[in-house]
């Protein structure tokens, strides 16, 4: 499989990374080089092989269903580029 500029633009949109036309054009061959290289996995016979889900066997732990964190609003907001009235502030989304 190989990608063209339109597909790279689509992936950039999905990834929320703004890209100029020149950046998209520059990325097309890089992208295809890497994809061409990873596609050698197609030659590995994986019939009947389960995809790996846990690299080291481990039980999924459950904790008690009680509040054990929180009450730290100011600490949470401290690094926000824009915090107002105890909330994260973002550009207006509804006119």
């Amino acid at each position: 499989m190989s990608v063209n500029a339109e597909q790279v633009r689509h992936v950039a949109k999905l990834a929320r990374i703004a890209m100029s036309d020149a950046e998209v054009e520059a990325m097309v061959p890089e992208f295809n080089n890497i994809l061409g290289w990873v596609e050698q996995l197609a030659e590995v016979d994986t019939d009947g092989v389960e995809p790996l889900t846990a690299v080291i066997a481990n039980d999924l732990r459950l904790r008690d269903d009680v509040v054990n964190d929180g009450d730290c609003r100011d600490a949470v907001l401290k690094n926000a580029p824009d915090a107002q009235h105890g909330f994260f502030a973002v550009p207006k989304v509804i006119e």
Binding site: M1, V3, V8, V11, A12, K13, L14, A15, R16, I17, A18, M19, M27, E30, F31, N33, I34, L35, W37, V38, E39, Q40, L41, A42, V44, T46, V49, E50, P51, L52, T53, A54, V55, I56, N58, L60, R61, R63, C72, A75, V76, K78, N79, A80, P81, D82, F88, V90, P91, V93
Partner: protein
Amino acid sequence: MSELTSKTIAELRDGIGGGDFSAREVAEAYNAAVAAGRPLNAYTVETPDLALAAADAADEARAAGALKPLSGVPLGIKDLFATEGVDTTAGSNILKGFKPPYESTVSGKLKAAGAGMLGKLNMDEFAMGSSNETSAYGPVISPWKRSDGGNAALTPGGSSGGSAAAVAAGLAAGVTGTDTGGSIRQPAAFTGICGIKPTYGRCSRWGIVAFASSLDQAGPMARTVRDCAILLEVMAGFDPKDATSLDVPVPRWEAGLSSGLKGKRVGIPTEYRIDGVPAEIDALWEQGVEWLRDAGAEPVKISLPHTAHALPTYYIIAPAEASSNLARYDGVRYGLRKEGVKSLDDMYAATRAAGFGAEVKRRIMIGTYVLSAGFYEAYFTKAQKVRTLIKRDFAEAFKECDIILTPTAPSAAFGLGEKMSDPLAMYLNDVFAVPASLAGLPAMSVPGGLDGQGVPLGLHLIGRELDEQGVLNAALAIEERAGFTARPEKWW
């Protein structure tokens, strides 16, 4: 290097405990070394006051007879670890100015054990790189130079390049690193120091900026195998805040150190003999086999049939996980925000365009693509199936051997700029390190010698799950026989 900054962690611990010198003197010597070492660009933030405060606490503890395991040991912390109130940026512009209101579990354990923090260490942006050149702070420069009379600046390796350079240059007694696909072991090899990546789940990932969560592991880097054992004992341990943390006891690795390998079988994987590796590295590998034989081990040939597919598997899985993990950098909660755009969506895209460097964007893009509708099965699921086979290869091999020996990297440290134009050539540098990462196994690099140009080469040991002791012991056997005492000549 002053006398104090050339001591091992074990010597510092014993010297402070025995009253040969004070922790204050040690911290002052290291603070001076860090300041003098700025031309290496190893530190992104210096915290001399924190180092001094921990030293004073250590000296008081000594007076009170209450020394802790690392009282008065000055450490550097990789910039990937959240450190309370101290800039934590993962080497990225998108996190410039981020001061965590909390401390990562691993760095917190080190501090609770009495260690002092000298500062934060430079690294490849979000740990994505093998040369430290993707850092927003510019590359770390290795303290090592080739002996060819030229003055080429060499890479310390990556992503834990600042960590490796700091230890090699005497700017820290020990450091934290993280390893996703070789980021502790390759820089350790490039700079002539030791570094161990423990079994996945040994060290808590809580508070470590996430790159690829199924692969990321913290580990120590230091001058000796013993120092690595000392640090790892403090760093490891169950943490309920990390869902993949292993709830198993932490062995006393330092007390368990023993370089007698009688009865141990050391596996030599046929598939790790690849084209294009310098003869010197193959020769060192042979020498390593002999050293382990001399320690009592029996070498056996083993096969890891899917080795050649490990790197492409890694370069699907790691970018996929990264694309998901790095979705959080949206200009809303922390870090950079690009202002002056109209919509929320434009703000996300502009912020990420401005905040991420080229390699990080490349990996997010690849990861987004292999996870996208229509391609998920062909790339991501396929890679996870091959990962199962790679893990199975090791399980089979460990029926025939107890430890595996390979070179750490396919080359010695290369010059800055030599590989930056070709991402694939850069990725190939982790060819020997990545399989153990994909299988979650403990693995370590230990210095083996210098190449013809006077630059360090490392040997790589891979152990069974949870057998850090076996890895450390084999590394110790090599360390004792290699007699690696070379140090970079101070030019900074």
